[in-house]
Symmetry: C2
Subunit: 189 residues, 2 copies
């Protein structure tokens, strides 16, 4: 079976890699961050998933084997790093519905992003609406207002268009979200 | 048996919590970061240990149980976050010998810190010399010079006094390393 390589000659103005190839949003973000890193543009990484290790076996002549462990609730967010000298911090979410329910983010993660914003960092939630094949960034100030106002249980596509900043999708990087971060940095300066 | 509570009236000018209580350096750093966070001074966290999950059991009516997993090499460093609007990134090390061998840090971690420094972040290695009960910060520029010059295999106490910045130890926070970060930020401005 032939491996499907991305075709660099395709029309980059109407990219649909994310949707057509069924790529997970997280993977696409990781690849985009790798691109930024290799170009010397930014240094942003996904944090490892926190795991509580309970029992480890130490077999002779081979690596320690974890035999009992559990997933823990992350104390902060998915991604952080540096761009244009600024501290960047965000939570990445994907929804297959045409809305993003607030229950899919932990209150302490929102609080963490609010704290980062207060300390002068660039903090946001980035959401991929798979059914629209669109990615939006929500500045934590706006997100937190929608989140705490209590009138809404979710962000739908209309809200996204109204309150979010649309992220250009492309070939390299797949998700060119630093273009939107540029706007956010310039607004705050 | 009585629990030994720290005594707030003790002489803070000669603190020795780290040594006398046999506290792990990492724990002391985490508590210091918690202090900074609660005071609204900084938001700096230890990243979770990266673990490669191989097999997970999904028992009914209880949490997913990881039954086979392995420790992975960290792709970046131990700690990162924000202070005074700056991106902060560092690797923390502890040595019971009177020197720190370079083989205890991965080359790609040094490269990561060099990259952060280039992008305008504050990047360093913080080392606790347990036998001296002293903590030193090495700016990544200086550390990388010692590391790549090839003449040295380690940093001894004399090197620490010459090339490092000594971190004040206290009661709250235990390791007041942001005092040294202040000096680093002011030098770079």
């Amino acid at each position: 079976m032939a491996i499907k390589y991305p075709n660099p000659t395709q029309n980059n103005t109407q990219p649909n890699h994310l949707k057509s190839q069924g790529m997970m949003f997280e993977n696409a973000l990781n690849l985009s961050n790798e691109y930024y890193l290799n170009k010397g543009i930014a240094n942003i990484h996904k944090k490892p998933t926190p795991i509580q290790v309970v029992k480890v076996d130490y077999p002779k002549r081979s690596a320690s084997k974890i035999v009992e462990a559990y997933y823990k609730t992350p104390s902060t967010t998915d991604y952080n790093g540096i761009y244009r000298g600024k501290y960047i911090d965000y939570e990445a979410k994907e929804t297959i519905k045409n809305l993003f329910p607030f229950k899919h983010i932990f209150p302490h993660q929102v609080e963490h992003l609010v704290s980062i914003n207060k300390l002068g960092g660039i903090a946001f939630v980035i959401i991929y609406f798979r059914s629209f094949n669109e990615v939006f960034i929500f500045d934590i100030e706006i997100f937190n207002e929608l989140y705490t106002k209590g009138e809404k249980q979710s962000i739908n596509h209309d809200d996204a268009l109204k309150y979010g900043l649309k992220v250009p999708l492309g070939y390299r990087p797949l998700i060119d979200y630093l273009k939107v971060v540029d706007i956010m940095i310039d607004r705050k300066n």
